[in-house]
Symmetry: C2
Subunit: 339 residues, 2 copies
């Protein structure tokens, strides 16, 4: 059995409350008493019971991170960043997978389990803008991603439009004229796909290049196989293009693979850029140019906002924060400069 305050108190010959005072660095404890208590703590190997402390204090020291699936590299890296950011503040992270299922996403917010943590960082993939009013829980929520704006919760998002525009401009600056898009979502306006396509169109428009739906490939999911299928689709249609903007890295990698199989050289025949800066893009063949959306900053900002909300739930109106991005130029867009 684990030792309790009472056990320590008995050994140290003080009241259990004094032991509590020692542990909580209460100011008025005589040095000799403190020493005696600490010796007893040492001796018994006492460790505070965090469950009891939680019950009493109403705080758990844990937060929940809800995301679609860890086997999707983007979310694995996001989780990594969130856990590290949380650890810096002594918080531990409980992970819930929703499988991008609407029902499970709603359940996460409604589950009593959520109260085993002090707050929720939530990255939905099934819920959308029309569900903004459903984003609420018994604990403070920080929303991630680009599917829902203007909810009652704090929100951290990447600069999708601006970053996608910069990625497109990166290709244009290489002298590319016909930039295909892989991964658009039919009819989507917000959401990662919608916003990134918007940035793409903005870039074209600024240069006076007409938008051609014939070189935009639509997909349903953002897995590598979808990127491959989309590229097959483009090639089958006989589309002509000299560059590809994969709306995320995974799609871009699928597209690169199909391009290479079809005999195109990347970047010489077709330059390719992705989006997300997954770790693996540094090791693919060729290494993939991409957009670093500021994952660490997203994680740290989310944790900071969540802690502020936990401390003061109604301290301020919901905030929406965009993180800084960065174009990462690698082999898949190397050389080939128009000069």
């Amino acid at each position: 059995m684990a030792a309790t305050l009472h056990d320590v108190a008995r050994v140290a010959g003080v009241s259990f409350k004094t032991v509590s005072n020692v542990i909580n660095n209460h100011p008025h404890v005589r040095d000799t008493t403190r020493a005696r208590v600490e010796k007893a703590i040492e001796e018994l190997g006492y460790r505070p019971n965090l469950t009891a402390r939680s019950l009493r204090s109403g705080q758990t020291g844990a937060i929940t991170l809800a995301l679609p699936q860890l086997s999707l590299p983007y979310f694995a890296e996001l989780a990594d960043a969130v856990i590290e950011a949380a650890a810096k503040h002594g918080l531990v992270v409980l992970i819930e997978q929703t499988g991008a299922d609407r029902k499970r996403e709603l359940e996460v917010m409604a589950s009593p389990r959520l109260k085993m943590s002090d707050g929720l960082i939530f990255s939905p993939l099934a819920l959308g803008q029309e569900d903004a009013h459903l984003i609420k829980a018994e604990v403070p929520v920080v929303l991630l991603g680009e599917r829902i704006f203007g909810s009652a919760s704090d929100h951290v998002t990447m600069q999708n439009v601006t970053a996608a525009r910069a990625a497109t401009e990166h290709l244009l600056d290489l002298g590319k004229k016909r930039i295909a898009v892989v991964g658009a979502h039919e009819g989507e306006v917000i959401g990662s796909a919608g916003l990134r396509l918007r940035g793409y169109r903005d870039a074209l428009e600024a240069r006076g290049i007409p938008y051609d739906d014939g070189i935009v490939a639509y997909v349903v999911d953002w897995h590598r196989s979808n990127g491959a299928a989309a590229m097959h689709d483009l090639l089958d249609r006989g589309a002509s293009f000299d560059a590809v903007f994969g709306l995320n890295d995974t799609l871009a990698q699928g597209a690169v693979r199909v391009l290479q199989e079809a005999g195109f050289r990347v970047p010489d025949d077709v330059a390719v850029i992705g989006f997300d800066d997954l770790d693996e893009t540094r090791y693919s063949l060729p290494t993939l140019s991409t957009v670093d959306p500021g994952r660490t900053e997203i994680a740290e900002t989310a944790i900071r906002m969540l802690m502020e909300r936990i401390k003061e739930p109604n301290g301020m109106p919901p905030r929406e924060i965009e993180t800084a991005f960065r174009i990462v130029a690698r082999e898949s867009t190397a050389g080939a400069s128009r000069a």
Copy 2:
């Protein structure tokens, strides 16, 4: 403020204990009473306070999963599997990253936070066999991986030797004669690298092929860049080989990349097999043959064993379980059969 048992009791006009009985499906509750209580629960939106329940019951309904880092795909997929397996039993998973740091790995087992969960599934990467006696915590532990055998904890491991032997035989069956190894660890006997190299040697020996240290590349870490560097090393040495066994998929992918850059065709010139069956191996170019080590089974077995230990901590001596593996033949070892 959240409603409590007392609030519900007041509304329903019963004692708070009766409400508790309703919630816990206590048998002797009159139907009319139950209905009245349930109505009150509904009305107030009562949700049990899990922290209080934990304090009272001594169980939290959570388990801790400690692993090196989620941004390593193998561990991300392992975590995915563990979370899903845990969810089937109504358990929630708290993830601790150790960064493969010895100090942090020891801290995970010593931290009082661990008591916020009922058990620990621990995949160490810095601790080794000599630390077997250090594997203990205030909660039951199930050890994963191949670094430590014979500890006082239950242990789930893949069949490294047998599976590596099968992988090697798969290459031999294609008619390959000189199989290079990428990813060996200097002087390691157990551990994934040591065991898989053992399986490789066993396969060669069984066919009467001498072991040649000249086509074994040693690395320190198992990242993709290490696989690439190791392959560079082999090529620079002028080593000659017609197949490669990457001791994990990531290494194999790095090696494939360098081979392709150097003008070798995979699998025609050099066949390659990896180990782990990462999701992404299904999408690389070429798709990578590999060993499926039974990740789902590992996760489910670990959860099952942990739950048994939680229920009965000293019910039985420590168990060591090996999961079933499967050779996954894909393009990187396709055709080229000797026939």
